[in-house]
Symmetry: C2
Subunit: 226 residues, 2 copies
């Protein structure tokens, strides 16, 4: 293990508001951050472009993009030709991507093994979270247990820690924390159907939660809308 291995971290970055805040938090805690974006066949590229800009602006030391073609297996309004709803319904929405966080954490785990890092950061949130099952604390704990069994590091007695600094925060608290840490939210894209320039629709559930977060925080909303 290299001397500074305990301070390296892999930070999952989507280009949205939450993961940008997570990166700022990880950097503020002194981690040397390697950001990882997963290109799973999203509807628009603006999100991936945003991830790259956010990584650089917030001081990550490297940024990687792993391509996973989830369109081959289908099943979500975010990767298929299913219409993104403007009014939230009951239960788990059609924007749920099957096993997405399991997949993203698997990739982050593999990358952490390669880098000899033990710390992973992910911007899941169990408050304003749209009802996705893989955003809950119990899921994160189960993944930590799995990671210990799945890896060379685990066999050798090491442990991975999955940091979820946003898990108990309301959207307004996330926005406040990120603003304190100097995140420029104009760089981020949260909209499920942003246009090529990264401008938000202002109508989908993700836009609605984000806009309300700025209102509740009493902060100006720098989001660029179409």
């Amino acid at each position: 293990m290299s001397p500074s291995a305990d301070r390296l971290a892999v930070v999952l970055l989507s280009g949205g508001l939450d993961s940008a805040t997570v990166l700022a938090e990880a950097v503020s805690r002194g981690f040397v951050c390697h950001t990882l974006a997963v290109d799973y066949g999203q509807r628009h590229r603006a999100e991936l472009d945003a991830a790259m800009r956010v990584s650089r602006e917030l001081g990550a030391v490297s940024h990687k993009v792993v391509q996973v073609d989830l369109r081959a297996i289908g099943g979500s309004a975010l990767t298929d030709d299913i219409e993104v709803p403007v009014v939230p319904g009951a239960g788990i929405p059609v924007t749920y991507v099957p096993a997405r966080n399991t997949l993203m954490l698997s990739l982050a785990l593999g990358y952490a093994e390669v880098l000899d890092a033990r710390d992973l950061f992910i911007g899941v949130n169990a408050v304003d979270y749209s009802g996705y099952p893989d955003c809950r604390p119990a899921f994160i704990s189960a993944f930590e247990s799995l990671a210990a069994l799945a890896t060379k590091v685990g066999v050798e007695g090491g442990r991975f820690e999955i940091h979820t600094p946003l898990i108990d925060l309301k959207k307004s608290e996330i926005v406040r924390r990120g603003t304190e840490l100097g995140v420029d939210y104009a760089l981020t894209v949260s909209c499920y159907q942003a246009d090529d320039q990264g401008r938000a629709c202002g109508r989908c559930e993700s836009c609605r939660l984000r806009r309300q977060g700025f209102i509740d925080a009493g902060l100006p909303d720098p989001t660029r809308y179409v």
Copy 2:
């Protein structure tokens, strides 16, 4: 849920001897099998071609390939420019792909959710297994627990079962079982560095284990060597 959902299965297929035997086993147990191959930037395409042929020959109802570019994160002799060893060393070998089975099961899980299947098959083996941590029974159990927490199905009270019919078998027993079930092993490619026509090197650890399996089973080895 569709009436026959309890009999659909997702079978991970690599194109090698083990997963071909798993597919034959799943079919023999009456599952309607959807095979899934993961193209993670392997050294050769012969393995993926073999997976497609094996899927068709053994009666799967569909075959999908998901592309995941693991070369972006590196770390294995199977995806990087690290030389594949001919003599096995102590411990976990350089052919270990970081978090590979975690990733493959994540993809199979996502696909199972899309198909409304509850059964996953994977050809892991804890006997002649080269020392990879993510081939052990404890890893599989941990993934089942994770799957229950990670998914819409789990939230609604459902469970996924991960079938590992080879986990306790020696290579010779796998070969014998597959032969009983009619698997044509000439279609399969196990070699870590097969050529474009799928011919095996005969020298890497995977070749060595496979060849010994046929010898111990007292069965002719149909493998095409270079």
